[in-house]
Amino acid sequence: MRGFSDYNPIAVSLYFLSVAGIAMFCMNPTILVLSLFASVLLFFVKQGKGDVSSHIALLALFFAMALINPLVSHNGATVLFVINDSIITAEALIYGFAAAAMIISVIYWFRSFSALMTEDKLLYVFGSFSPKTALILSMGIRYISLLSRQRKKTEQAQRAMGLYKEDNIVDRTKGGIRIFSVIVTWALENGIITADSMAARGYGLSSRTHFSKFKFHVSDAVLIISIICADALIITAISLGTLDFAFYPKLCAAEPSLFGSFAYVAYAALVFLPVFIEVGVSLKWKFLRSKI
């Protein structure tokens, strides 16, 4: 038994593509709640609590997105109140929460994705059919951590030079803006340097091969087949309309059906799969250690 991140990268990529893709294209509250809950849970299981302030920022983003929707969309039959002749409806508010749940859950899926799918894995998955795509993708993802590291460095340098005051909101915001501008300049410059240095090392020449150490086990095949089965079931349910959910003008779910509930169960199994695998692995590890 292996941890979820030790499965073949193709299976792992397919998994993230499925869960995030379904959450993005199916505006169904049950699906979205499952997706949001599972994505956050997976993040905490795999990476601990991480940077707490980022969770708070995402929570604030969640509420901001949910509350802005009723201000711009006035569809819906249940009028909560009226501001200056614009109606604020319960349906628009609920739609806002659904859309916010979708975006936040996809953000968490990709946070887990970028943590689990390291550079070599990305190269392995995409390298076989398009090495250039793989290179661009891995370099792009590399920039996320690169920039946050550079931000910390710049901040420290600015503070050391006495340019950075933190005791009031105005100066802190000003400092933040300055650091942002420094990083953008640095990133542009760094991009050019990287390109030059890669060209000097012979990147982009034809007939280059790549090496990877990943093998394809039977359990990978099992994982891929079960993901595809679940996807097929859910996509059929979506196209048959059994997962349809109308927000406007009144909340209205499709008639509950046996097939629909199968699809819900399949999605729930899919989103919680990595958590189950991780928990199973750690239980086994503890069990084996207890016997030593």
Partner: protein
Amino acid sequence: MKTKIKIISVALFLVLLISGIAPLSAAEGHEDSLRKAECFLEEILAFKMDNAGVDFEQGLVDSLADEAGISAEWYIIALSQSGEYDLSEYEAALCRYLKEKEVYSASSRLKYALTLAALGSTDDYIGTVLQNSIGKQGIMSLVFGLHLLNNGYKNQTYPSQEIIESLLSLQCEDGGWSLTGDVGNADVTAMTLQALAPHCKSNADVSKSAEGALGFLSSAQLESGGFLSYGKENAESIAQVIIALSSLGIDFQTDERFIKNGVTLLSAIETFRLPSGAFSHTKDASFDESATAQVFCAMVSYIRFAEGKNAFYILDKCDPEGLEMPEETQVSDTTSDFSEAPESNAITGMGEGCGYKKTAIIALLVIGAFGAITMLALGKRNYKNYIVLCFLLAASILFVLLSNFKTAKDYYNGEAIEKKNTIGSVTISIRCDRIVGLSDEAHIPEDGIILDDFQLDIAEGETVYDILAEASRVNGIQFENNGTESLAYIVGIGYIYEMQFGDLSGWVYHVNGSSPSVGCGEYRLSDGDRIEWIYTLDFGGDAK
């Protein structure tokens, strides 16, 4: 020869039989009708008690106090006129409501004053309204005003003789009355007759005009016994006619003029009755509060007539002597208050819900002070922090002042805005015939008509957009626009949005049958214009 005699004798026998039965059934009908009316009355009461969750009538009366000023007024007038109930709790609730809330519609103010009068109240609200509302909002404010004066209230500037003359001058060619236009409307005609009824005997002009109005009502009555109002047969119109006829002392159950195909008004109104005892607005529709309340009034009115009591609007309990008339100076003050209030709202943004604004601002100030203390305690003592806090506070206070929060009930109150400089009226209709049958969604009307020829007064410079917004608000229709003022663009009406039925679908408007080349926020209307909003599937190509 024999067969001929047989046929003639059979025919004669039938004629005799029918002519014998008819008066007999009419004589029986009187008692029956009264019993029927009482039965309707009791069932409505039972229904209301059931809804209020009480099992005795006084309990219902007390529960109506919660709806004071909102929907209970007609029940209260009828209850006060039908029996001895203790309505003091409701009276207190209504006085409280009227103190807290400013009522902009003159007709509504008069309705509240009439309700207070029916309760025997001597609140000075009645006096104020008498002075500032009669004749301020078209025919209805004359009708309600005359009701008050009929009960012995006095108005120096507008004596009842003058109101009667104004009403008579407003009568249409066909004998009826209407809110606007020159074709009579059964509802308005009946309501006007109710106010004129007490003057019929003493005033020859009134009685002549009432005869004309009765002729109009009789000819407007449908084969089914009902009346059309805004193109729909409805319970309220029949109820108003019943009140009018019983106020005039006409027994409509036997009067030939108001029996069509043997259908009397009472049996016509029965077709709107639901199994629960309540009434619906149109046939086969669901429960309607206003229809039920008006039928309740109609039944009380009929029973009063049958028992030989005064007309429905001659209030038993009212006490015009006990009323202290406000002094002249006060009167002019309050008058100007009422008439200028809406304008001052527009400038300061304060108004109706002024109370909540004060609370909100105080709450914001408290939150600000709390934030400042917290920052002080946490050691963030740089002055710039406090400047930011003040900015945030000022911005939120400005938002509270400039915004105007209303509850859905206040917003969709069904009342048109009282306009000062009206230059005429326009009709507006909203249709989506093109998509009927394309989708089975419940919010798409089966006949494709979202709003049927609705008439509204217009003021100088009002645009198609303004009228759409007002008509939607009055009729409780949802709509959404992008942009405001002259850039307004309508994306959806009645939950039907553009591009829901293909890339070329959306809302277009026509004025007097042709499509203007400017946006709806720029097209200025003139008197008599006919606006049509049409849902097109073809970029306007299929809209006529």
